[in-house]
Each structure stands twice: as C-alpha cells, then as structure tokens.
Amino acid sequence: MSLELRGITKRFGTLVANNAIDLEINPGEIHCLLGENGAGKSTLMNILYGLYEPTEGEILVNGEKLSLDGPRSAIAAGIGMVHQHFMLVPVFTVADNVMLGDERVKSGLLDHAKARKDVREISERYGLAVDPDAIVGDLPVGIQQRVEIIKALTRNAKFLILDEPTAVLTPQETEELFTVMRELRAGGTAIVFITHKLKEVKAIADRITVIRRGSVVGTASPQDSPAELAALMVGREVRLKVEKPPVEESAEGPAFSVKNLTVLNEAGQIVVDDISFDIHPGEILGVAGVQGNGQTELAEAVLGLIQPVSGSISLDGVEVVGRSVRDTLRAGLGFVPEDRNHDGLVGGSSVAENLVLDLYDRPEFSSRGSMNIGKIRKNADERVAEFDIRTASIDTPAGKLSGGNQQKVVVAREMSRPLRMLLVSQPTRGVDVGAMEFIHKRIVREAREQKRPVLVVSTELDEIYALADRIAVMYRGKIMAIVPPETSAEQIGLLMAGAHPEDAVDE
C-alpha cells in the first residue's frame, strides 16, 4: 500500500491554499508535515480526507486514482484522521464512540459486545490502554486522543493523519503518544504527523516535508538542526533563543500580586483554587500547565471579566478586584486573550477597527461619541508596518487574515500603548517562528525596559522557558509550585500532571 498526492492545488477564491503539492506516504513510515499555521497543511490533509475537493491534482492509492467525495470514501480507502479538535461524544462510552458511524449490528440491534471486543483488540495490539466502558467525557485529553486513534484503526486505517496531535498534551502524554506512533509504525501503518514544533519533528519523524505558503519548499532529514528546519519553514534565518537581560533586583517589592484568589466557573465549580503569587517590576512570570487547569479563569479574573469569590489582586498597590474590564484596561493592563478568534477579534470588522477594539473611545481616536476615522486609519497603517501584519489592506476584515496575522493584530493593539502591566495568554499560538521571535522580543522589552510586571500564560513549555524568570505550574486550579527556569521539562511535566512538588522537584 502506498499513497501519493500528485500536483494538488486548492484555491479558495483568489487564495491559493495549496499549490501543486506532491507528497508520498509509505507504510511503516512517519512522515512529518512541517509548516507554520496557515501554511496549508490542514487544507492538504482535509483534501486527503475527502473534506475538500482539490482544484487540481490527484490522489493515488497503489498507483490507482482515487476519487474522494467525502470522509466516508476516504475511510473506505484506508485513510484515517485524528483531528486537532476531537470528534467524540462526551457522554458516550469509549466503545460507543468507536462504533459511531460504523455501527456493529446484530439482528437489528447495536452489538455492544462486539464493539467492546474490537476496542480491546486494537488497544492490546498497539499498547493503547483504554477501558472500553469508560465515559469519554471523564477521560483525560491524552486518553481521548487514543480513542480517536482507536476509532481510526478499527476502520482499518492504513494511513493515519494526526493533525497537531501534541497541542493539547503534557510532555509525558506526548511521549506516550510517540510510543504509540512507533508501535503503529512497526505494525506497518503509514502516519502523517502534522506539526509546527521542531523538537517533535526531530524526535519522531522518518521523513520531513516542509510546507510554506501553500507550496512544498523542501524535504529535510530529522538529523538537520532545529535552526535549519526553522529557516526552511519560515524562509529566512531565525533566532530561536530570546535574548533576555537578567532581571534587576528591585527594592520596591512586587508590582503585581495575587493573594488567596479563588474563582468559580458558571457551573459553580472551583476553577482557580486559593492561589497566591507576586510579580516584581520588570519580571516575567510564566504560568505553565495543560489547557483547562484554571489559567483562562485566572487571566479573566485579572482582567475583571469574572469576579473572584475571594482573594485579592493588586497592581501597583491598588486593588483591582471589582473593577470593570474597561476600567482595568484604562488603568494600563495590556491583555492578550488565549483565543483570539473568540475573545480578541471581531472577524467581520476591518483590521483598522480591530486595532482599536478597546481603544476606540479614548481621546486619541474619538471625541464626543464620534470616531476619528483619520486617526484610526493612521494608527492602523503604523501598527501594520511595525508588526509586519500581512494584510491586503487595513480595510480587510480581520477574519480573512491568517491565524498568525490575526494574532499580530491582537498583540499590536495590546502592546502599543503605555502599560502598567502585561498579561499575555498563548501569545504566539499559531504564529510563525519569525513572528514569534518578534513578539517574544516585545514581551521581554516591556518587562526589562519599561520595568513592568509581565504574566505569560502558555501551554507551550518552550515558550515558558524562553520568556519566564520564574515558572508557576498550574494543575486543577492550584499552583503546584513556582520553580526557577532551570527546572527540567520532565519535572515541570510531572507538576503539570498533578504530581506533588516534593516528588517532582528534588531540592
């Protein structure tokens, strides 16, 4: 069995998402598709999975042309896909989820026993330990991902596409996933591994194809250095390390401090559990943790979007709990939300408007209820140039920009005014390596030159390491420990998984 993509081109209107891409996928091989977000990796894989029809080009299985009219025909051809966002029904059991869409039936009724047996068989064969009767919603993300893989395998997938599978995993879970991938490779499955993380590529890939701006720009070997891979991916040389002057000890005491903060979510569950920390002027505190362990709510509480049930947050000695979002922003908080599409941008509005989304009513941009379009456009021109936002024009709706450029719009807005504090969540999510370098530099500058406290929330451990002076690890709403940046990834990974600090950090 071999799978070949030949001359695949996909256009959306005038946009060329894929341009004459050739790709060969062989059994027993992990083929890594490396590229920035928006490079066209996902589009290509959606074509392969039958979700999009290519504008040009063909897909060949064993040299025969394959015509796909939907995922169903892709599955029939032995192609399986694990999406970045899982397609599972949380209230169903593992076995039921695996059976969904491919139901085992015995005399007109669902055959649950057969489904369970199938799940067990696959999990034993590839070392994918899963309880077929567990409710999917109760399982950790890493296990849910296994369910997705099992789902693909029970449909006899010979070609398995994993779309950014490590984005939601702890370092340990990533390691486990790699073990499973190696098992599958040994069993003859062809794996397409989509990622933009260089380290992972080096750890697992047999073959690397780099995609940039919709075209294949080259192939690489896992032995190539990360800098070489990054240069290929971005198209120029990139500095992977952030240059950071040492933090100066200040006698003033903390500029920002959180004391005994507890926050409930809408369902009344504790999501931030009695946490306390300080940030000194010019210091960068990184908050590490797997997505969904209270980081979001911590950030929203600082912004004033949700009111904590107890505890205090103070900036420059002034209590901020109870302030409205508008007042917090006016008081000088720069806030980059973790999900730009959901919280950071109005997709239908222009880039220029989005660049003043939380500044539109300030005297610089409006007076007596009327907006000053000239100044807003001038501001947009400046920000677009300064942050290298790639957009057709400042009137283009922000929703039409690529993910990385959307992120630059948000970052540009939040970091181009005098701040008293900066809070950035996932500042470089989906941003290319080049822009990442730029954003990181700006964050460091805000701390070191402006002497502001900076809080960086990220699920990317590499990003935390690159920026943080101290690392707070969150797990289930608690800060497990605040550790120095010299702490190993393994130890931080253990803390992220909820291990007790004494067990994780040997000090």
């Binding site: 979002v325 109005v346 379009i373 024009s393």
Partner: protein
C-alpha cells in the same frame, strides 16, 4: 488542470490562509451573517430579475384566458405564446406606470410624477422600519417586534396629536417625538429583558406584539381615545396642526400627491443611522457586540448597554412608522384604528434583509418594495392582475437574496464562496 497558475512561482507570494472556521454558529447568528455579509449586489439584482420571472409565470397561470390558449398549445403554440406575452407585458407595464412614470400623462408634471410620489409614500414607512430592523441586526438582535413598537408609537403620537393643537409645525414635531418615545420604550423593554435576564428577543418581541395589539384595541374603546361621533372602533382624529404636511401640493390643484413630510424625516433618519453605525463609538460597540460579543466584552464594552441601546433606537425608529401612519396619509381619518400597523413591522424585516442591514441598502430596498406596492395597485386596476402576485414577488426576492448559492447556481455564476469580494470592498461602510 486547464488553468495556467499551476506550478508557477508567481502564486507563492500570494497570501495563504485557512478556510473559514468549520465551527458553525447558531442559526440566528448565521442568518444575520448571511444578511450582512452574504449576498453581493449582483446576486441581489439577479434575485429581483428571477423573482420577476417567476412572477410572470404566475401572471400567466392566473389568467384564465391565457390558460385556455395552452389547451391547444401543440396545434397553435403562437396563440399561447402571444397571449402569455400580452398578459405579462400588460401587467408589468401597469406595474411600471403605477410606480415610476406614466408616459400618457407626461403633459402634466403633477400627474406624471404621481406614480413615483406614490412609490415614495409607500417606501417611507419601510425606510424607517428597515433601518430599525437593520440596526438591530447589526447589533446581533432579531427585532421582529416592529408591530408592537409601531403600535405603541402610533398610540403616543395620536395622543399627542389630538391633545396638542398648535402651533402648526411644532405640534407635528411633538407628535413624531411622542411616536419615537412610545416605540423606543417598547423596544427598550426587550433590550432590558435580554440584557438582564437573557430572555430571547424573538420570543419577547412576539409576545409584546400581542400585548401592544390588544392594548390598542382596549384604548380605542376608552373615553380618552374613542371618537364619540363614530360607530366603528376609531380614535379621535389628530389636530390639523400635528398632521405631516404634504410636500408636493404646489404641483397640483387638488393636492392629490400624497407624499408628505415623513420623507424629510426619513432622510434625516438614514443619515443618522449611517453615522451611528459607521462613525459613532456607540455604533462601533453595537457592531462589535453583534458580531462577536465575547471579544467585545474582553475589550471592555458593555454587552448589556449595547443591546438595550440597540433595541431602544430600533424601537424608536419603528415608533416613527406608527406616528407617520396616524399623522400622514395612511388613513383618511388621521386616527387610530385597530389595524393601524398595516403589517409594516413585518414588511420591515424583508426590507432590512434585502437592504443587507445597511442604511443605504435599506433605502433602495424600501423604494423597490414601495414601487411594487404602488405599481401592484395599478396592475390590479388596469390589468386585472391580483395584487397578491406582488406580495409573492417580494417574497421571492427575499428568498433568492437569502440563498445566494441558489441564484449563482441558476445563473452559473462563479461562486465567491462567502462573498469575499463584497466583503473586501466594503471596508468602513460595511
């Protein structure tokens, strides 16, 4: 495989992006998005042509004598074709004559512009209504409570109208302001309930429509409102001073041209709403809240305030519709009747849809619908074609506009997917 772009280096420098987020928002949100960003002008134009085409088929089918000629279609197809052509051309000629310009009266300025005066007279309430619904759309709200808001506006305007008897111009302005206040208050209730309790505006507005309707029926029976000299349910007439003055009486002797001062107010309203949406900070908030409430909240905007303000202004605009119904020429008595709304609160929704919720688009849509209404009457009187066909044509236009892929399919247009071109060119006025 036919295009030349393949493999050329030129395309590499083009921007590359991801397709639209596969995550689908709710039906209401998608409807609003479709209305605001969906169809481009070409599609709208084709939708109108298509609707007229289906209207023509209906004209043919509804005419008995034409149907008769189809019974011997194969022996003499010419008869059927010419009869059909006659029916359709007579009908649409009457439509044109009744709405735009009647060449047979061209010797008299007053008569010649009478059809267009009628068109504008019909269009004016639709402009207010379309602006009202469109504004709410842009703030992410579906205001189908126009009926109730315009009834409340009409009630207050009538009360002011028969209470205040002069001086001439001022009384009229006061009555219109009363109408705005009545509609705005009724709309603000919806906004308040939505913002404070999360009650869905569609449900609330439907219920408030009934409340207003029966409140009106009750009021007409009370001593304060009831006209003691009349048998039928009718309120007292508004004072002469508070009536909307006719604009074109100087052109004709009899004063038969109905177009009144409401047109001037409509022009002001269009300019105001355009400014509000595109240039004011409040409009910026409304649009941001309407298209992404959680981003608006994160940016420090108050979603509750935006929703209340949107419904308040939307209701106020609907209130003007009610005021112009009573103070203008819509009913001969210039008084409240139980059917004072004339269904305008619902007609306004179709106007806003066709006008893509933009002020300028709403003006064109309202004039089109006004023309169909005015022309439909002469189609009925001169060509004997039922005026209901006009309603069907209006409905079909909106149907086709709401389904751009259908129109593109019929005319084999290249799909622009989600209307990229229209979006990219819209910019600030979007």
């Amino acid at each position: 495989m036919s295009e030349t772009v393949k493999g050329s280096g030129a395309t590499a420098s083009e921007p590359v992006g991801k397709p639209a987020d596969p995550e689908r928002p709710g039906l209401g949100k998608r409807l609003v998005d479709q209305v605001v960003y969906g169809a481009d002008w070409v599609v709208t134009l084709l939708a109108i042509l298509l609707a007229l085409f289906f209207g023509a088929i209906l004209i043919i089918l509804s005419d008995e004598s034409v149907r008769g000629t189809f019974s011997y279609f194969f022996s003499s197809p010419g008869d059927a074709i010419s009869a059909s052509w006659d029916a359709v051309s007579t009908g649409y000629t009457a439509l044109f004559k009744g709405s735009i310009w009647d060449p047979s009266h061209s010797w008299n300025v007053g008569s010649a512009i009478a059809p267009f005066s009628e068109t504008l007279t019909e269009a004016v309430p639709l402009i207010f209504g379309g602006l009202a619904v469109g504004l709410a759309f842009r703030a992410g709200l579906f205001n189908i409570g126009g009926q109730g808001q315009l009834i409340m506006g009409a009630i207050v305007a009538t009360w002011v109208g028969f209470t205040v008897t002069g001086p001439t111009f001022l009384a009229m302005i006061l009555a219109v302001i009363g109408g705005i206040a009545g509609g705005a208050a009724w709309g603000a209730i919806v906004g308040l309930l939505k913002a404070k309790t999360g009650a869905h505006e569609v449900i609330v507005t439907i219920m408030l429509n009934y409340t207003a309707l029966y409140f009106l029926a009750y009021l007409i029976g009370t001593d304060t409102f009831r006209d003691p000299d009349r048998q039928e349910p009718l309120s007292k007439s508004v004072s002469e001073a508070s009536k909307l003055p006719k604009l074109l009486t100087w052109l004709t002797d009899g004063g038969s041209l109905r177009l009144n001062f409401a047109l001037v107010i409509a022009a002001v309203a269009v300019a105001f709403v355009w400014w509000l949406l595109n240039r004011s900070t409040l409009g910026f908030e409304l649009r941001a809240v309407g298209s992404n409430a959680s981003a608006a909240r994160t940016a420090g905007m108050s979603v509750a305030k935006s929703q209340i303000m949107a419904m308040l202004i939307s209701g106020g605009l609907m209130g003007i519709v009610g005021a112009s119904q009573v103070l203008g020429t819509a009913n001969a008595n210039n008084a409240l009747t139980p059917d004072i709304d004339a269904g305008l609160g619902f007609a306004a929704i179709t106007v806003a849809l066709l006008g893509r919720a933009s002020p300028i688009g709403t003006v064109f849509a309202a004039i089109l619908f006004g023309a169909l209404q005015a022309g439909g009457r002469s189609m009925q009187s001169e060509a004997g074609i039922s005026i209901e066909i006009v309603t069907v044509i209006q409905a079909l236009i909106v149907l086709f506009v709401a389904a751009p892929p259908l129109v593109r399919g019929i005319f084999r247009l290249k799909g622009s997917g989600s209307g990229d071109a229209a979006l990219a060119s819209k910019g600030w006025n979007g």
